[in-house]
């Protein structure tokens, strides 16, 4: 029996006369279901005809299968002139697996963020001056993307550099009512976050204090220690 259908798949339609009646429609439906499930590609009606027992009517089986799967997690869909099972469109999200990976912000980003928070509004040049190294574009972009900093007003100095300020969501994230709530150096020291070593004479971070005057009365004075 099955030889016959094998050959049929191979060549044209060198079919023998059916020896038995075609199986009942429910059975044909099962057959189509299994073939479509196991096949790596969508299967054409012709191929279904070739693989099913003689006298079967895969077209009809497809119609009722399609109805059967209409509300299921997979659907019977038509792909060109072939048929295949596919995930129901509303369940596509199950095929993505979102893994949330939490990473600590890099030291450069934290420092940059801290400087902006303590000195805002603050230009890139100022940040670089305080940190003593160039601020990479990536760092600033990352902080902007995190929505922790945003562009402030341009500084009214030659070159009109942009400034950065912290955002509402920064305050939100760090549980602050305003940037003024950030503790000053004295408090940091009192809290044990800084070594209590006395400042060596003349080592007071000279450049740091030479911030440019800015028109807006930056925060620097708020944090004098």
């Amino acid at each position: 029996m099955s030889d016959a259908s094998d050959n049929a798949t191979g060549r044209g339609a060198e079919r023998e006369e059916p020896l038995f009646d075609a199986p009942p429609m429910a059975e044909q439906e099962r057959m189509v279901e299994a073939i479509l499930f196991a096949s790596a590609e969508a299967v054409t009606l012709r191929e279904l005809e070739a693989r099913l027992p003689l006298g079967a009517d895969p077209a009809e089986a497809l119609v009722s299968l399609r109805t059967r799967y209409e509300t299921r997690g997979v659907r019977l869909v038509r792909v060109g002139d072939a048929w295949a099972f596919r995930t129901a469109p509303d369940l596509g999200h199950l095929m993505h697996k979102e893994t949330v990976e939490t990473r600590k912000l890099s030291r450069a980003a934290i420092e940059t963020l801290a400087i902006i928070a303590y000195h805002q509004p603050c230009t890139r040049a100022e940040i670089e001056e305080i940190r003593g190294v160039a601020v990479s574009r990536g760092t600033v972009d990352q902080l902007i993307e995190l929505e922790w900093i945003r562009f402030g007003r341009r500084r009214m100095t030659p070159g009109r550099p942009v400034t950065f300020v912290v955002t509402e969501s920064f305050l939100d994230h760090f549980g602050l009512e305003s940037a003024r709530d950030l503790p000053g150096l004295k408090e940091l020291r009192a809290a044990g976050l800084l070594d209590n070593r006395p400042l060596p004479v003349g080592m007071g971070g000279p450049q740091v204090e030479e911030e440019e005057e800015d028109e807006g009365g930056g925060q620097s004075e708020l944090f004098e220690d």
């Binding site: 299994a34 499930f37 196991a38 096949s39 790596a40 590609e41 295949a84 099972f85 995930t87 095929m95 993505h96 697996k97 979102e98 893994t99 949330v100 990976e101 939490t102 990473r103 600590k104 912000l105 030291r107 980003a109 934290i110 420092e111 963020l113 801290a114 400087i115 928070a117 303590y118 305080i130 940190r131 003593g132 990352q142 995190l146 760090f174 549980g175 602050l176 950030l182 503790p183 150096l185 940091l188 020291r189 976050l193 800084l194 070594d195 070593r197 400042l199 060596p200 080592m203 007071g204 971070g205 740091v208």
Partner: protein, 264 residues
């Protein structure tokens, strides 16, 4: 070749099959998967439940098979001959009255164990056949042809705490202050460093090896650095020896100190 016993059985087809099988045995020793397999095949001619098999008769069958093979100058693998020797021993033990001096298992125990082995091998063969007769994936049933791989989307979430922020700021603002206090440790190799190093290295120290050969590159020439590294490594191996991970030896005073991994 024919065997009297098999010829005598009767005129049924079985005997023909048995005779053919017996001849096949001779011709095709390689077809057997070892002496136990051969014994199992021979045991079929007894046509009894394996539990009731006569081990004595089986031993005789095996020995006569081996003799025929020798007569035909068929090379038998060593394990067939070992089995033959053992069966000859078992046969004599089964035939002779038990020696009261002899300790250890009785001939019956040995025979019973052999019968058990045959039965177990037979059972495993049948189990294997049943297993292979099951519907198999890729032959009788099939998995999904089209697969949709789960796309893994990695969302990286960055975090920082207020503490990080403040420490970061404090670090910058006080950075310069700390500089003068940093000790110059360029020429000091600490014991912790040496211990870390040695822990990674002792896995390879199967043979006695001179401790000096463990000194890191760059610490072997300059006398100051060499002293520091040697002292640190010496302290480290004492620590490792104390933990029972290595053995230490020294031939005589000032001789090289040698170590090797302790094997348990």
């Amino acid at each position: 070749m024919s065997d009297d016993r098999w010829d005598q059985t009767d005129t049924e087809e079985d005997s023909v099959a048995a005779r053919l099988a017996a001849e096949a045995l001779i011709v095709d020793v390689d077809g057997f998967e070892g002496p136990l397999d051969l014994l199992l095949t021979l045991s079929r001619t007894q046509k009894v439940d394996l539990r009731k098999i006569s081990v004595l008769q089986l031993a005789e069958q095996y020995l006569s098979f081996v003799n025929k093979a020798k007569a035909l100058r068929i090379e038998l693998a060593a394990d067939y001959l070992v089995m033959a020797a053992w069966l000859a021993f078992l046969k004599s033990r089964l035939l002779l009255p038990p020696d009261p001096e002899d300790e250890g298992p009785s001939a019956e125990d040995l025979a019973a164990h052999l019968a058990f082995q045959l039965e177990r091998l037979q059972a495993m063969r049948e189990a294997a056949a049943q297993l292979m007769a099951r519907d198999q994936k890729g032959r009788d049933f099939f998995g999904r042809g089209v697969t949709e791989d789960v796309q893994r989307i990695r969302v990286v979430k960055y975090t920082a705490s207020l503490l990080d922020l403040m420490q970061g700021y404090a670090r910058i603002r006080t950075r310069d202050e700390f500089r003068p206090f940093v000790m110059d440790r360029d020429h000091v190799f600490t014991m912790e460093q040496a211990l870390d190093r040695m822990r990674g290295l002792i896995g390879y120290a199967g043979e006695w090896t001179d401790l000096v050969s463990y000194l890191p590159d760059g610490w072997q020439l300059d006398p100051g650095r060499r002293r520091s590294a040697t002292a640190a490594h010496f302290a480290a191996i004492l620590e490792l020896a104390k933990r029972g991970q290595i053995e230490v030896r020294q031939g005589e005073t000032f001789a090289p100190i040698e170590i090797r991994k302790k094997t348990e």
